[in-house]
Symmetry: C2
Subunit: 291 residues, 2 copies
């Protein structure tokens, strides 16, 4: 049976490929952007956005522009993260990284382009959503991925690399670098239907928990995964002396902590009366994934 994630992935990939991106003169910029965007990613964040909206009867089709915008933000962050001045990675999803193919200048601009086009995409008038709610989507995407969110997490991650930190530092980095954009995926999905503020808050709490659990599993996989499974170089965290959960509490306790974190999120959903949702299938895939 095709999983919910696979269904979303197919639809997101079709949408991303069909986006008309003109530019005869700037052809190489678009090529560089598409090189990283039209790759074999899991499309987890778009799927979380779609699953959240679909829990309340909104069609996946309607959510595609927002889901694509979120994936574009994720994609830009990977391109910039791989640059020599950052993590200096040669391999991403089993392919040479963007700057290895297009050079550093073009990779920088491809990231800037994807980041900016994400906001162009999510601000294109969506017929089924009020302008007020669509503005809230833009606002959340920017806040969660900005200096008080993802970019802030990356900055602290870079600064703390090689230094001794605390478990609180790890929590801050994971919360901002990874969890905030996953949270935004669910929050933005939750703005498609008309929800009560209680329902929205419950989904927001759940999104944060899911995002934290996701990064904990990621830490674990960097320790126990293989190059073939991950499509990138494993063991980089330890090699680069990154702050991770396994470094402080070990692999098994990190796994347990991920499970406990998600359970707190599920409790929030239950209390808001959200009992049936494709989110739960995605959640299990996150917890059980091997790459």
């Amino acid at each position: 049976m095709t999983s919910y994630l696979e269904i979303c992935k197919t639809e997101v990939n079709a949408y991303l490929s069909s986006m008309f991106w003109g530019g005869e003169r700037a052809a190489r910029l678009f090529e560089a952007m598409n090189y990283s965007l039209l790759t074999d990613g899991k499309r987890l964040r778009p799927a979380l956005c779609m699953a959240t909206a679909e829990s309340f009867g909104v069609s996946r089709q309607e959510t595609l522009p927002a889901a694509a915008a979120i994936e574009m933000i994720h994609c830009y962050s990977l391109i910039h993260d791989d640059l020599p001045c950052m993590d200096d990675d040669d391999l991403r999803r089993g392919k040479p990284t963007n700057h290895k193919v297009y050079g550093e200048a073009m990779a920088l601009l491809a990231g800037d382009g994807l980041l900016t086009e994400a906001f162009a995409r999510i601000s294109r008038r969506m017929p089924s959503v009020t302008a007020e709610r669509q503005l809230r989507m833009v606002q959340l995407l920017a806040l969660r991925s900005g200096a008080n969110g993802m970019v802030g997490g990356q900055a602290v991650d870079i600064e703390m690399t090689g230094r001794s930190g605390s478990l609180d530092d790890v929590h801050f980095i994971h919360l901002n670098k990874t969890a905030r954009l996953i949270q935004a995926s669910i929050e933005i999905g939750a703005l498609f239907p008309e929800l009560t503020e209680i329902q929205f808050r419950a989904l927001s709490i759940y999104g944060e928990a899911l995002g934290l659990a996701f990064q904990m599993i990621d830490d674990v996989l960097d320790v126990v995964g293989s190059r073939e499974q991950l499509g990138k170089t494993p063991g980089k965290d330890e090699q680069e002396n990154k702050l991770t959960f396994p470094r402080f509490i070990g692999v098994d306790a990190t796994r347990e902590r991920a499970r406990a974190t998600i359970e707190r999120g599920e409790t929030a959903l239950r209390e808001a009366g959200i009992a049936r949702s494709p989110l739960f299938e995605l959640q299990e895939q996150i917890l059980e994934r091997s790459h």
Copy 2:
């Protein structure tokens, strides 16, 4: 007498300095962002936004969030443009460039942070504008500064550097790299009042013309200006074999062309019945500027 540009500059600087940017842990990121943002810039783009709205009776105060967002986009583009993999500049506005002070990784993230926070700022609900029109502001800011605008222009600029190009290539680069964001400043200002589509279009055409003229003057100043006047290294264009107007048609013809371009823009304004506006004072300062 204090010029209109000076008045706007004071107000924009006060607004930019007052923006609450939290983050104890990410303090250095915010410091890097503010290092480049709270500098002695001309604040021309915010002033153009404010002048446009004020032409129709909108207070400058109301336009500040949008004006600040535009300046943040401009500022991020300068930080990324100065990076070693791009123009590799050591000096900007008379001060060491961002990466010279904070390192490449933090400068990259400061740029990403400013770019993203610009969209956070412009999507914060403005009480005096309908949500529909505010979404259009977001949309225009993204389109003009994205891959079909500023970032596209920078990509082609980088690609064409050192190659033989045509006057059409110069036009493409200037239009996208510089004029589009200046055009957006005027377009976004024009979305504060309720204008007719004809008035909006006239201002959009004028903005494009003004932006092109601005870059032509910039090219001229790079040839004839001094380090003290410019606050950056002059003669870089020729040294780096950049495509510029003076390279093709000389300094005097470039000046004339700038004047003729603005006149075309003025005609559009006149035809739409826009006769009195602080824009005209700003325009003269652009044409007569020495830095």
